[in-house]
Symmetry: C2
Subunit: 335 residues, 2 copies
């Protein structure tokens, strides 16, 4: 079930890839076991969301960070706590996908129908809640209260990012600083926690945990910018989910911020009317011609460079190399 | 901020009431501190939901169980963990209220406008998520992984109850057994956990924890039945929230189950058409004339008797007496 594109670097490193892929299989099993219910109605829904699982980026980063923190390419440094925490991260992520689809009124996710489109918003809201609840329940089975605190802080931050974004909908005056604050909270916080928790569970020093946390934060920001670029300029068949939702839902993202920043007053009023009319094709043409799309991509690439630099204090080795390659893939991906 | 009706027994017992009311003030402070954010947009929402806090039934039961488990009426048996767990329970409850209002498309809650009606469903969904996340974060600050596991199991169960109910909407063939399963999961599980966790944090034996857990389960079921009775037959001005939502949203509740069970085929088809037409007044008339409403109330009263019997192994004392009086109040209340 590993996504072909973004995790392709993993498969290129034979001994380490076996450890990671084996770890991910365990994560999938822990995930599925946690979501077993005695109610058929609930199991049916759990089964449906299992197909949402795609890239497994967060679990991969957690496991890889656990190895990189020790400079090891041996899967033996990964323990049950790593695999459980990785399943927790994926479950939190999946809960956000289910609720995001309600917020975005999206119909398609990973080439399948969304829960909200199939079963209504009410079931999707409650299913998301059930996933969050299970994530925290699973997390407490690790038995390390600090991990619960860390994941709890992370999801607080994540929700705050979403609430901040919601409070600035239909607001084309949103500036880059606020945009980055939203992205850091709603996406990068969880990616960052995966990396630092992976290191923590390997018994790494605070310095190493922080370095990996920073790597995750930069990578997460780059990931979200690429997502926002794809939402405007990607191919729906390739990406596998409903695109153009940001324009539709009045979300101002980085390419548009950059377009408006360089526009003359006359161009600006034209772009605002294009946004007002939800004219995706016209907006895309402007984004391409003005270079704003490339500028946004350049920002993402720069963030990836910062991510790689953050790994300086991490022991050299294949795991570290792979983290660098994965970060590159985050901005290269078209899905 | 204590609700006048349901907690009135508390105020009748002078020394104990001071301990409980003092404890509840601490709970409110812990609650408010947890929900402080650096984002003004988030603080504004947190402030809005604070007025949702009404009965404080769950924190009261947790604190009271903590005292009853030790047969004490001295507030000194309650520690910081009791107060924090009580705040966690109220926060979980408040999250369910925010999401319930989205599910029920309700406009009014505790005499104020609901978040969904004021700020849209999207903000309400995300605010509910933020409350759940904060509840788990706060819970992990207690530092006892077992409490996290217990609350996690409880919220899993709670969501499953809601999902089961959603899967049986628009289904007047719902039987009493399934109805009770829904009620036990979606409402009684949290009330029960409050009581058993309160006892646990007082260092009570498994037997005492279980007895209080059973008391909570019976009381919680009675509470939900009374809620369902009020939704059909209560006075909106008294209850302070939008009524008639169960009929509107196709939820079959106990009074209707009892009405349909005793109906002749001819009456049955009449009632089904009344339900289909969402004719609340006609339904209420049938419920009253047939005695089905009284029958549902009698079931709730019976559950309260079982709740009180479950306290047999609990040391005699004012705290235990108060638990009994509170259970009585649950079915006597009109709000």
């Amino acid at each position: 079930m590993v996504h072909p594109s973004i995790l392709s670097p993993v498969t290129r490193h034979a001994p380490l890839s076996a450890a990671i892929l084996g770890g991910l299989r365990d994560v999938e099993e822990i995930f599925a076991n946690q979501l077993r219910s005695d109610l058929p109605a609930v199991n049916e829904l759990a089964h449906h969301v299992e197909r949402y699982r795609g890239k497994m980026l967060r679990p991969t980063l957690l496991l890889l960070s656990g190895m990189a923190a020790r400079g090891s390419e041996d899967g033996a440094v990964l323990n049950k706590a790593h695999r459980t925490a990785a399943a927790v991260a994926e479950m939190i992520h999946m809960a956000t996908l289910v609720h995001d689809d309600v917020l975005d009124e999206a119909d398609t996710r990973r080439r399948g129908r969304t829960v909200n489109s199939l079963r209504g918003n009410e079931t999707a809201v409650m299913l998301g809640d059930w996933l969050i609840s299970n994530a925290f329940h699973l997390c407490s089975l690790i038995g390390d209260p600090a991990v619960n605190v860390l994941f709890g802080e992370t999801t607080n931050t994540l929700c705050e990012g979403e609430l901040l974004q919601l409070s600035r909908r239909e607001d084309p005056s949103l500036d880059e600083l606020t945009y980055m604050q939203i992205v850091r909270r709603k996406t990068a916080a969880l990616v960052s926690s995966c990396c630092s928790i992976g290191a923590r569970l390997s018994g790494a020093s605070e310095l190493v945990q922080d370095s990996l946390g920073k790597y995750g934060e930069f990578t997460g920001c780059a990931f979200q910018i690429q997502d926002d670029v794809l939402d405007l300029a990607g191919e729906e068949a390739l990406v596998g989910k409903t695109l153009g939702r940001d324009l539709e839902k009045g979300k101002t993202t980085l390419p548009v911020i950059m377009l408006l920043r360089q526009a003359t007053p006359w161009e600006r009023s034209e772009v605002l009317s294009i946004i007002h009319n939800r004219d995706g094709a016209a907006l895309l043409e402007r984004l391409r011609l003005s270079g704003a799309l490339d500028e946004a991509k350049a920002t993402a690439i720069q963030l990836v460079e910062s991510a790689k630099s953050a790994l300086e204090s991490i022991p050299h080795g294949v795991a570290k190399d792979l983290l660098c390659e994965l970060a590159d893939e985050v901005v290269r991906r078209e899905a």
